[in-house]
Subunit: 226 residues, 2 copies
DNA sequence: GTCTATAGCCTGATAGAC
DNA sequence: GTCTATCAGGCTATAGAC
């Protein structure tokens, strides 16, 4: 990305960063254990031994990538908990943002068993993070309820939350199987978001339905952030 | 299973069958590419070379297992399409049955990319089967609509069907992550069924809700079929 | 026809020398 | 930062016993 801009000290993209970026891309495409360290090195354009210089083990690489997810997630959580705005649009904004985070780090959610297998040290951290994110969505649901956007019978909440997690995480697999799409692109994100939104749909108030339409009207395909 | 009953010729459990059974169990636990041929042989209690005698490649083994799924699925499809009964309970029965099939062969659904990677020949067959099962669920939904059990706005149907597929397939992964459960047992099936049922819940008529309660009241934990 | 023992071959992660 | 060696493990194959 920013090859020309150098703000402070080292805006220059370091080899380490390039490794992380390349690994993320490959992992997202095929899952960590269908990607070899050799391939990562080749993609970056460095030697395999050089990769070893930065990350002694594949586990270390996975750890570093997970820290990025933790960073994104906690930034998001802070933002949501600090929210005092009453603008209804804020929620659809959050939902899109949360969805983006999952998308960027999707291999972790999708191939979690494999990730844990090669990086056992990530067992608890992943669990904790998943819990935390679930709480945030729960909190958002409560705020939305207070804002008369949605009304979910209290008995249905746990199941709804679980389904939101499941669909947010695995819609892409469905898409690639059912539709034969193998290279997912930003416009497919819109499809996924629609799937998740449809879980809320039956519970939305009229006001909520309006907001939903607005959210779905905006497109990930136009986002530069991805 | 049937060790005592011998109907026709060879009800005796053959080595081949034992291989298939052991492989299915291991694959369901950890996914095909986290299970070695050596381990399968060890589990069966035979030599690795003997396994080779029956299945020259791992792909051949996966193909044989897939044929079993095809058998179960087509038997189910025939049963559903042939249905003329009007008893509302028939639908919850079908749903449980369909859910069981996915469960028994869950590694295929869960680790499909991995399966295809080691058995490229299964690409089209899996796709075809997935399509077929989706059509069946669609058909059931229509029958249920006609029976006044459910009323889904026509625009919501595709998203609902997709979500049913996604949740049916991946609820187990959620459970193992979120709750830290790693050995899923039949009683967990009840949890999964509840998740899937909750997708329909907002659209059910009063009659439909009653049927749902009855279905959820029965427990997989008591089923001997699993 | 069924099974065991054993070996070859290949891939991929790790490591140390340069 | 780079190259090459090592080492483990997985799939496939063969020879021959029962």
């Amino acid at each position: 990305m920013g090859a020309g801009d150098d703000g402070k000290k080292t805006t220059r993209v370091t080899t380490r960063d390039r490794i992380l970026e390349a690994a993320l891309g490959l992992f997202n495409d095929r899952g960590p254990d269908r990607v070899t360290t050799a391939e990562i090195a080749r993609t970056v354009g460095i030697n395999e031994g050089n990769l070893y210089y930065y990350f002694k083990t594949k586990e270390a690489l996975l750890q570093a990538l997970f820290e990025k997810l933790e960073g994104d997630a906690s930034a998001f959580m802070v933002k949501v908990s600090a929210n005092t705005a009453t603008d209804p649009g804020i929620y659809s904004d959050y939902m899109r943002r949360w969805f983006s985070i999952i998308w960027v780090h999707r291999y972790i959610f999708r191939d979690l068993p494999g990730v844990i297998a090669t990086a056992p040290s990530l067992r608890e951290p992943t669990r904790a993070l998943s819990m935390g994110m679930r709480l945030v969505v729960d909190g958002m649901l409560q705020q939305m309820t207070a804002a008369n956007l949605i009304d979910v019978p209290v008995d249905d909440v746990p199941q709804l939350l679980a389904n939101v997690w499941i669909v947010s995480t695995y819609w892409a697999v469905f898409l690639s199987l059912q539709e034969g799409i193998d290279d997912l692109r930003p416009e497919h994100l819109d499809w996924g978001l629609k799937q998740v939104a449809s879980l809320f749909k039956p519970y939305l108030s009229e006001l909520g339905k309006g907001e939903l339409q607005i959210m779905l009207g905006r497109s990930f395909a136009l986002d530069k952030a991805l």
